[in-house]
């Protein structure tokens, strides 16, 4: 069996890759993919802890997180599509109308 420590370190690395992706990438879709990576890193941590504790509640948490992520993506992509219709671009840098 893989030691829990390794799994948690892997999940932390995935989470940090996700954070870096959100901060660095300019395409909104890729930014959202990075956020999904962060959520899935949390899922991995939940599952790893649950198997270490021999408990079920961590695994159930994974289901909740996946469901919420699906709900979020539905709304997020809808917003993205409306933006693409008006601006023909999904680049974060094209969103600069609001400032001051």
């Amino acid at each position: 069996m893989v030691p829990t420590n390794y799994l948690i370190i892997l999940s932390a690395v995935l989470f940090l890759i996700g954070v870096a992706g959100v901060l660095v990438r300019r395409n909104v879709l890729v930014v959202y993919m990075s956020i999904e990576l962060m959520l899935n890193a949390a899922n991995l941590a939940f599952a790893a802890f649950a198997s270490a504790f021999g408990a079920l509640d961590g695994q159930i948490a994974v289901f909740f997180v996946m469901t919420v992520a699906a709900a979020e993506v539905a709304v997020g992509l809808a917003i993205l599509v409306t933006i693409f219709r008006t601006r023909q671009s999904v680049d974060v840098d094209s969103l600069h109308q609001l400032k001051g």
Binding site: I35, A48, F49, A61, L98
Partner: protein
């Protein structure tokens, strides 16, 4: 699972069921008659508010300790439901003016209020996360409600991306807390910590990440970057509602988590909360000084008000002071909600087509053209600035008193100085209204005028007759 589990969640259940039914009913309501949807939604909120108040100081915990109904939850739920009603009042005429009068607006608002209410009740971090998403996802949609308007779409996307980013931090924080203590229930976390069986490194990491996630939601510096853009770009009626409901939900969760789950982490988290409170007050007030757009100015001012609330939150780890800190934050949330709704109602009354009428310069001459509106706006600005005899003064007094009693005198002094700075930009609105010449046009909608008038009266009355409301806040103690 017993029957009492469901009665504990009755206000939220009523709202969610009613919103779902309304989604169906709305299909049969003619496009020109969406006022009925608004009315039915407000009725649902009133019923939920009644059930929440009827629970009083609470029925205890339900669903295996995952939700808890206590005086704290009742106070927050009443505030959330009332803010939903005002949100509907502000929106009704405004949506018609923007030609986006669709029924879904009110239904999404109901779901969002249900999320805020559930957040006040959540005694389990997973329930808190679900409630946070129930609060946030409808708000993302509402921000984009005036679609085809580019600034609205931009605001929605920014809100969505940063909200989802924050939620990911929150979930990872929950996972770390779970790893540290073996449970996500607040009572079990507290028990594991005091028994010494928790992994303190993971717990501190989890606490810090939770703080980041909730800090985004309540717009605390340095997690505030989205706030001015979103508040400016979203339709004004949405902003007015979101400025209250999202902060009520976020503050409820923050207080419950910090006071009940992490009092043992005081050593690690208190300096962080201290720094966040300081930065939030300074950045919010200093950035507001430079704003010309009233929506943006109110956005930075809302950041500053979160900073004032965090001044009291700093005392969370002190078991003796925590109840007073919670009461002070609750009272300030009430004060902020009333004043904020009044100010946004005035902004909505003066907003014209294509986003005109939103510069502070557009308020010139309001004192002569619409004396009552100008008087009400003056009351709100005085309350935001913390002048007696308004509720804003009393609220700040309680917050800073907690900080002084907790030994955070430096923070209280910074808070007072920051309020002095804030007087400059609040008074600029007042002087523009009375001292400058101009021909502003205000929309004379009955519901809007009612909200402005009621908010102005409550702002002054609560500032004079403080005792009943503060007593209510004092009784709203958290329980495990």
């Amino acid at each position: 699972m017993t029957f009492s589990d469901f009665t504990t969640l009755l206000p939220e259940t009523v709202l969610v069921v009613w919103a779902s039914v309304l989604l169906l009913l709305d299909a049969f309501i003619l496009k020109a008659r969406k006022g009925w949807t608004a009315l039915l939604a407000a009725a649902g909120l009133a019923v939920a508010l009644g059930f929440a108040l009827a629970q009083g100081s609470g029925l205890g915990s339900a669903f295996g300790g995952m939700v808890v109904s206590d005086g704290f939850a009742t106070f927050m739920e009443a505030l959330a439901a009332a803010s939903g009603v005002v949100g509907i009042l502000l929106a009704y005429d405004y949506l018609k003016r923007l030609e986006i009068a669709r029924g879904e607006y009110y239904i999404l608002l109901l779901f969002s209020v249900a999320g805020a209410m559930l957040m006040a009740k959540a005694a389990d971090l997973m329930v808190m996360f679900l409630a946070l998403e129930l609060l946030s996802i409808p708000l993302y949609v509402l921000s984009a409600f005036a679609r085809k308007r580019e600034d609205g779409e931009e605001a929605a996307l920014k809100y969505f991306l940063l909200g989802a980013f924050a939620a990911a931090f929150l979930v990872y924080g929950i996972a770390m807390t779970y790893g540290a203590t073996g449970s996500t229930t607040i009572a079990a976390i507290a028990a594991a910590v005091s028994a010494g069986s928790a992994n303190m490194l993971l717990l501190a990491l989890g606490g810090g990440l939770l703080l980041v996630g909730l800090g985004f939601k309540i717009a605390a510096v340095p997690f505030h970057m989205w706030t001015p853009d979103v508040y400016q770009g979203a339709p004004s009626s949405v902003t007015g509602f979101m400025a209250v409901s999202a902060k009520v939900g976020g503050m409820a969760a923050l207080l419950r988590v910090l006071v009940l789950a992490f009092p043992q982490l005081g050593g690690q988290l208190t300096p962080i909360v201290w720094a966040i409170a300081l930065l939030t007050m300074l950045v919010g007030n200093l950035a507001a000084l430079a704003q010309k757009n009233i929506k943006r100015m109110l956005a930075y001012s809302s950041i500053a008000h979160v900073g004032y609330m965090l001044v009291a939150v700093v005392a969370f780890a002190d078991a003796k002071l925590a109840p007073a800190a919670v009461a002070a934050v609750l009272f300030y949330l009430l004060a902020y909600a009333v004043t904020n709704f009044g100010a946004w109602a005035v902004v909505i009354a003066l907003e014209r087509a294509e986003g005109k009428g939103l510069e502070i310069a557009d308020y010139a001459g309001l004192g002569r053209r619409h004396p009552w509106l100008a008087l009400a706006m003056t009351v709100f600005m005085l309350s935001f600035g913390g002048f007696p005899p308004t509720v804003g003064f009393v609220g700040k007094f309680y917050l800073f008193r907690v900080a002084v009693e907790g030994g955070f005198i430096g923070l209280a002094v910074v808070g007072v100085l920051a309020s002095v700075v804030s007087v400059y930009y609040y008074m600029r609105v007042v002087t523009t209204m009375y001292m400058k010449e101009g021909e502003p046009e205000a929309r004379g909608d009955g519901w809007l005028n009612l909200s402005v008038g009621a908010a102005a009266i409550v702002t002054v009355v609560l500032g004079v007759v403080v005792a009943p409301a503060f007593q209510w806040a004092l009784q709203a103690v958290l329980r495990l």
